[in-house]
């Protein structure tokens, strides 16, 4: 199947071209068919590749297609790498991608931009596949920028609304800040290793640099790459675009801003784990940033009232967990969490979409309540997703999160405790969301109430499939203590740096069981608390504009980070623009240039004065001239 691998990204590209070029001329059914069918086709090829990788027919294959950019000694090819890591990512992208395409065909069916939507979505899948399939950093970067473009186009999909347009612009610009880091990281790689090809770079890195010795170059490279990751994967300090990105259609939030694109930063670091493992300093930075983001975003999630905003902060927080894992050198664990998160977070977003669809566009959970009766399938699957993210065994999130926490305990019990704290906050805000949305009595308008309905099958089938995956998805990584042998870890081991192979956590089985017990017990306790607050006491968050306690207010306003960035970055930039233009450009530089012109003007006026036609003036000038000549002559002779 290797000879067909090129079709994996090209099929969605063809889908994009067909839909995009025909635009509104195709009936919606055809658009939906082309859009979904192309992804399904890619998924089928990916599955055959996956089996071949699983049974060992393919270990690591580079497929070179053509010279992309070559100049001087630089020779960058457009080529793909098929190995366990890329195949894992491709499976998630095309699999979850197909389900979300299918769902979209129902969700977007009434939208006049239906064709445009599918064109963008196919272009996104193409770019995302390029990102994970490339065999060098530049192809990765091409996909990286491509998904950024699609994200921009889809966040601002409803372009009549300027708030949405601002959100789209913000996302692109913040990503570009990260991209500059990525770009400089690549340039430093070129200067250091003379290549951008993974195999060449990693091989050289392992021979040139020895572990345990501080490597300034590697620290610089990895920090720059990580800066890129903080943009794309919404980590501190570049995370604020992601909550705003919820302006896009909800399936987009599921696919791009939860399941796939935002995990690109994690993929990139895992891909370059050889470099990161040789730069322990960077790993520590990643660990701190990841954990901080996980906790920080979770606290904001506790008080949000927009169903998508809660999920958005949850995504930022879960991505933080993945970086936390990366920072501890637990690369395969991070990918494990990428996979399970893709299942349950896509499920939760699509479920939220189903709720919003039923509520005629309402997103505020204060206006919901008691929806379980009217949306039974959405409710059941949403509960499954919530239980999975909360980390209750045997749901998917339990295994991946537990693996992260086990690594954390091995590093330090304090890290473990903080990790558990984040998990508890996650549990609380998720169950708060569930209870406010599906339990109690309906708080919306009569009009909304009369419209409540379960979504059509084309939307509920993806929900059900994702629910099943959220239940069983964790079984690819069952730890030994629970009778498994962590399949995913051994599957990914060929791409992990040898020096890092031993860093599997080395906790005794009894400790591990005890930790699991504590965290699961605490999670259950938090669920009960949430149930008491939001079911028994029927608490509803206070309406907009009411007085909040100071800490509550700070959280509700997301720590005022957007306002801080506006004051510290955006405004000074505009101010600088004014200063440069009005002062430097017009008053200084251009004035100086014009002064030359005026100088010439005046000079010639002066020269003209010399030729005034007065004989006596000429005589006088002559005499002066002769005196001067004689004078200089004398001086020279002396």
């Amino acid at each position: 199947m290797l000879q067909l691998a090129w079709l994996i990204p090209v099929l969605p590209l063809i889908g994009f071209l067909i839909i995009g070029l025909a635009n509104k001329k195709l009936p919606k059914a055809v658009v939906g068919f082309v859009g979904c069918g192309s992804i399904l086709g890619s998924f089928a090829i990916v599955l055959t590749l996956l089996t071949e990788v699983l049974n060992g027919t393919i270990q690591s294959e580079t497929l070179t297609y053509f010279n992309w950019i070559s100049a001087g000694s630089l020779d960058i090819k457009l080529s793909f790498l098929i190995d366990p890591l890329s195949v894992t990512m491709m499976t998630i992208i095309t699999g979850v991608g197909f389900l979300i395409h299918l769902y979209s065909a129902g969700y977007m069916s009434h939208d006049e931009g239906f064709a445009r939507y599918f064109a963008y979505l196919n272009l996104f899948v193409f770019s995302m596949l390029i990102l994970v399939m490339g065999s060098n950093f530049l192809v990765l970067f091409a996909g990286w920028e491509g998904v950024g473009l699609c994200s921009y186009l889809l966040i601002g999909f409803w372009f009549k609304n300027n708030d949405y347009n601002n959100a789209a612009k913000k996302a692109f610009i913040m990503n570009r800040i990260g991209d500059l880091g990525f770009l400089l990281g690549m340039l430093l790689i070129i200067v250091t290793f003379g290549s951008l090809e993974y195999s060449a770079v990693f091989e050289q890195a392992q021979t040139i640099f020895k572990p345990g010795v501080a490597q300034p170059v590697l620290i610089a490279i990895t920090l720059l790459l990580f800066l890129g990751a903080t943009g794309k994967s919404a980590q501190i300090p570049l995370y604020t675009w992601l909550p705003d990105a919820m302006a896009g259609p909800t399936p987009v939030s599921a696919l791009i801003h939860a399941a796939t694109m935002v995990t690109a930063g994690i993929y990139m670091i895992v891909r370059s784990n050889v470099l990161f493992s040789l730069a322990p300093f960077t790993l520590e930075v990643i660990e701190i940033i990841g954990l901080t983001t996980a906790l920080f975003a979770a606290t904001i999630g506790l008080v949000q009232n927009d169903i998508k905003k809660v999920l958005a902060y949850s995504t930022v927080s879960q991505l933080g967990y993945m970086f936390f894992a990366l920072g501890m050198g637990a690369y395969s664990t991070a990918i494990f969490h990428v996979a399970t998160h893709a299942f349950f977070k896509a499920l939760l977003f699509l479920g939220a979409g189903s709720v919003i669809h039923a509520m005629s566009g309402e997103q505020d959970i204060r206006s919901m309540g008691g929806l379980w009766k009217k949306l039974p399938i959405t409710f059941a699957t949403f509960i499954i997703g919530t239980v999975a993210i909360a980390g209750i065994p045997p749901f998917a999130g339990f295994f991946s999160k537990d693996e992260i926490l086990a690594h954390a305990y091995e590093h330090s019990p304090i890290l473990w405790a903080l990790g558990v704290l984040g998990a508890l906050m996650t549990t609380f805000y998720m169950f708060r969301l569930v209870f406010l949305t599906f339990f109690g009595s309906f708080r919306g308008t009569e009009h909304q109430k009369s419209h409540l309905h379960e979504s059509p099958l084309i939307m509920t089938i993806p929900l059900m499939v994702l629910a099943v995956l959220s239940i069983i998805g964790g079984f690819v990584g069952v730890p030994e203590v629970l009778g498994g042998h962590n399949f995913l870890k051994s599957f990914l081991s060929p791409i992990i740096a040898p020096i890092n192979q031993h860093t599997g956590h080395a906790l005794s089985h009894s400790t591990e069981l005890m930790l699991m017990g504590i965290s699961v017990g605490a999670v259950l306790l938090v669920i009960i608390i949430a149930a008491i607050v939001y079911i028994s006491k029927k608490a509803v968050p206070s309406p907009e504009g009411s007085d909040l306690s100071a800490p509550h207010k700070v959280l509700y306003n997301k720590y005022y980070i957007d306002e801080i960035y506006r004051t510290l970055v955006v405004k000074p930039l505009y101010w600088l623009g004014d200063i440069f233009y009005k002062v430097f450009e017009i008053r200084i530089i251009d004035n100086f240039v014009n002064a030359w012109g005026k100088g010439v003007d005046r000079g010639s006026a002066g020269l003209r004065f010399l030729q005034n036609g007065s004989i006596s003036f000429y005589m006088f000038a002559m005499v002066i001239g002769i005196i001067l000549i004689l004078f200089f002559n004398t001086i020279i002779k002396l």
Binding site: I69, S70, A71, K160, L180, L184, V191, Y581, I589, G597
Partner: protein, 488 residues
Amino acid sequence: METSILIFLPLVAGLISFLLPDNRAKQFAFVAALAEFAYSLVLLLQFNPQETLAYATSVPWVKSMGISFSVGMDGISILLVMLTTFLIPLIILSSFRRTFANSNYFYGLVLIMQSALVGVFVARDAFLFYVFWELALIPIYFIALIWGGENRKKITFKFFVYTLAGSLLMLVAIIYLYLQTPNGSFDINQFYAVGSTLSSTDQALVFVAFFLAFAIKMPIFPFHTWQPDTYTVTPAQGTMLLSGIMLKMGIYGVIRWILPLVPEAAHTYGMPAIILSVIGIIYASIIAIKQKDFKRLIAYVSIAHVGLIAAGIFTLGEESLQGGIIQMLSHGINVVGLFFVIDVLFDRTKTLELSSLGGIRNVAPFFTVTFIILLFSSIALPFTGGFPGEFLLFVGIFQYNPWIAAVAGVSVILGAVYMLSSFQKIMLGETNNLTSGFADLFTSEKLVLIPIIILIFWMGIYPDTFLEISGPAVKALIKGTGTSLSLK
């Protein structure tokens, strides 16, 4: 012979155009420009990049002074000639829905301009180069002066005098070098031979003289203040000529008439030139953010983009020279597309004030798609024409000095800021009185933009087509300067 045809065909056609009736000139000029393009394409297809000088001719012109009509093309020249011959028909076509008074003169001047531009890119004799260099200024001066907008007299006068002052310094340097040649010749190879034997001080002086002429033309900060006014006041087709092709004369000049001529000085004084260029990148980008008029905004963007090319070229790295060359092509194509978008905007709404536009995406889908493609190519999204050049330029600059590259890199962010903001203000949101009746592109307008878009993707996906043509010439050039940095 072949190269001479490329020079004289548009010149003759331009003179004929003067004599034609007003209503025939447009079609005639277009056909002539197409013929020129077809002929240059034939030459390109037969061109062997390994050849040091193809299609060369050298006949004595003013024998007593050692001036000869000496022309020919290497890989660098032929690419810039192709850029010219590709863009001129599109620029003429872009005016098909506009009416100019005395259009026979207008199109005649465009064709004469083409002749001079081609001449600059192929001249192998310093005097001839100078003649073409100055000749190119005259048609564009009249185009701006006669068909320009408000305040044109003052602005075009400044433009004319400023650029002329720069070239006079170059003339002094040319004469100086001529006097140094053993048997009095303006031949480029004799110049090269003489240039590298000069003392450091003399090289420095020659460097400064040439640099000022080229820096004003591009323009590089702080020699740029003629540019935004001139771009804004000139009619769209004139702006396309200026930004698409004419500013490449300055960059080409650096490659052909500075680097191999005074290699030691280029090496020593490259640093200040690079620093000025990089200041210009950031300075112009930040100013662009605050511009209210879209045409003026793009004028500043052009300064930023050219700054990156100039900085890359002065690093003398092979990667960045190659990047600079492909970026000249890509910038030329892209900026002509953007100025055409601006022309269409102005044609429909009679304004370019960002704050009075908006919502056009609702009513003009084809226009929107082309605008989006041009926008993302100009901020160098991979697989568009802007990317390979920008990336290679950064590679070269980073090798030269990582910190300078990091500063220049900020333009990657600023580019997104000004382009997306202006796109949003022009195209997104709800329509208003000015934009609700916005007509989508007409066929002749599509015919301008489609070739541009095809090239944008071609250059982005398979830039090797172009890099291979200039590769050997760049290698030879670097060997000549003997001061290259290169990757290990």
